[in-house]
Chain length 110, copies 2
DNA sequence: CTTATCCTCAACCATATGGTTGAGGATAAG
DNA sequence: CTTATCCTCAACCATATGGTTGAGGATAAG
């Protein structure tokens, strides 16, 4: 499932859709409006988001109303958080070097 | 740049590579070993990770040694964190409904 | 020197992705 | 009823993706 989520996030148009959906429900046409592509193309992007579980669609009459479904994003963050220790560790090492009164760069061999 | 990072993460073989690199440096051949694909295919995956800035390669002799470069993952988390408020908010709403002594479902019109 | 090892490159292939246009179903508006 | 609007579908196209094999350069090992 992570494959689908990360793939859904790997396109600017889809990230724009998600950002706008964070502000509230929007129809497919409204999601498509600011994008430089046809309605049919935007419709495909909505389907990608839907299949990744990031958007839920409710059909009311001829409008397809989309709502953000943030849980898979939380799963993605959970996956990425594993690496947090790693970049923290790197920062700690850098901090250690900066705090050191005698940086190894200026040390002479005995 | 987020496009490249999310795209790099959207394939299981590449996520496996990253996970293993979290344990230390590995050559391209070592990264390829557990994957069910040719060395050439694995080599392409390494390049995708490299182009996303997630892996740094050092060529020593005939070995290409790869090291994890976690910063772009941090950027991805930063992007995703915007939505954290959103899934927190949803949980709050759910909690509110559950805590409510008179759920709206059982309310009658005046 | 000769041979084995590590890895990339090039060519190829099947399928996925991301876009287009034209048609049309279903609903809303007049 | 008639027409406009919202949206999907189908067909099409160019390019990207993800894999293969065969060749070969560079280095290491014998």
């Amino acid at each position: 499932m992570l494959d689908a989520v990360f793939h859904a996030l790997a396109h600017d148009a889809r990230r724009t859709m998600l950002r706008r959906l964070a502000g509230g429900e929007l129809s497919v046409g409204e999601l498509a409006a600011p994008l430089h592509m046809s309605l049919a193309a935007a419709s495909k992007h909505v389907r990608v988001l839907e299949q990744a579980g990031l958007v839920q669609r409710t059909i009311t009459g001829r409008r397809h109303v989309c709502r953000l479904r943030p849980r898979p994003l939380s799963d993605a963050v959970a996956w990425l958080r594993f690496y947090e220790q790693f970049w923290d560790a790197r920062l700690d090492v850098l901090q250690h070097v900066l705090d050191s009164p005698h940086p190894s760069v200026s040390e002479e061999p005995p």
